[in-house]
Symmetry: C2
Subunit: 215 residues, 2 copies
Amino acid sequence: MAGAAVRVFNGRGGEFDAVVDTATKAGVQVRVHGRRDAQPEVHVDVTLAQAVLKGDKMDDVVRDAVMMGVLAIRPIVTTRSEVALASLRRSHRQERWQRISVSSAKQCGRAVVPVVHEACTFEEALGPLGGTGSPRCGLMLVEPSAAASVVSVGEVGSKPSDATILIGPEGGWTPEEITLGSSVCRLVTLGSRTLRADAMGLVAIAALLTHWREL
Amino acid sequence: MAGAAVRVFNGRGGEFDAVVDTATKAGVQVRVHGRRDAQPEVHVDVTLAQAVLKGDKMDDVVRDAVMMGVLAIRPIVTTRSEVALASLRRSHRQERWQRISVSSAKQCGRAVVPVVHEACTFEEALGPLGGTGSPRCGLMLVEPSAAASVVSVGEVGSKPSDATILIGPEGGWTPEEITLGSSVCRLVTLGSRTLRADAMGLVAIAALLTHWREL
């Protein structure tokens, strides 16, 4: 409605007070008149690399991860995933998850809309972690018994500038994936409790942000 | 089916291997032949005192809290709750939540079934926290701006033997409730992020267990 006071955000950290000029079916024109202090963002650039889950559980994972302050979500397809990359692309799931990211950012008052990348394979997701140059922090969530080198969240170390959290599908990682992942990631466990696959992301992010004093 | 190998648990920490003797509509008889090592429980007796949420969101809160290892759930009715104690009793919600506790314990492999208490008022929930004798740890989740004495999870202090986590309804606590609560609880915040009311419990438990090195 023309004249209404609204708050708008650009999805990249800017949040503004504005007044509606015109509102039609084709769109809304607003007049911006002041920058607001947007909600502060987390000081670690977190990417959640989550194996695509069954049904629409991934919708909740995206919604929750955005609420917790991640900067990006990278859906991955692993050996035990029950969905194929081709079918994800055909069904335009990435566009759907990106819309969920926008609406979750709005609901939580975040001025930044996290990007949801196109789905890729587990090996592709590891790519950015292995490079020389700027060392990136990869954290692969596993069962406590997965390997001798598994650490708990409290042993992950001090706050990095960025972190990629890798979480497997309902059926877990294969031993080969754990071996491959351990070459470029730390293997991290959330303890002996059995968590539902669709809750792992939220719990892992909450635990890591607590450890890094970001909660 | 007679002869089938099963695993049974008594809901109080005991887990056993057994074989089915007879299975009829009236019930199943099993022969227990060995005690198993049950999944270890959290070393803090956590009670989640959660203001009842709208619709069936409380079902998810109960399910998630049991998954995270709480020992009890106490539904509470606060000033801004949109449900009344009488209507909760009439609709047998406590029995429903107790059944959800059983099924979540099973799903997560916990040998302990957390008790879901009958709903009570906020003031009644504070009762056990104010007493002399064994000091109990009450933690009331609030917005960062709620009072001068609000601390972050990292400042909550060392691991207590028991803790009651109080979480308000969608509309939050009233200022009077915060004043009353602060007389027997620490006021704790999860930071400046805006969390959905139905996710607060899971995030708070994950954060506190991380802080206490229980994850």
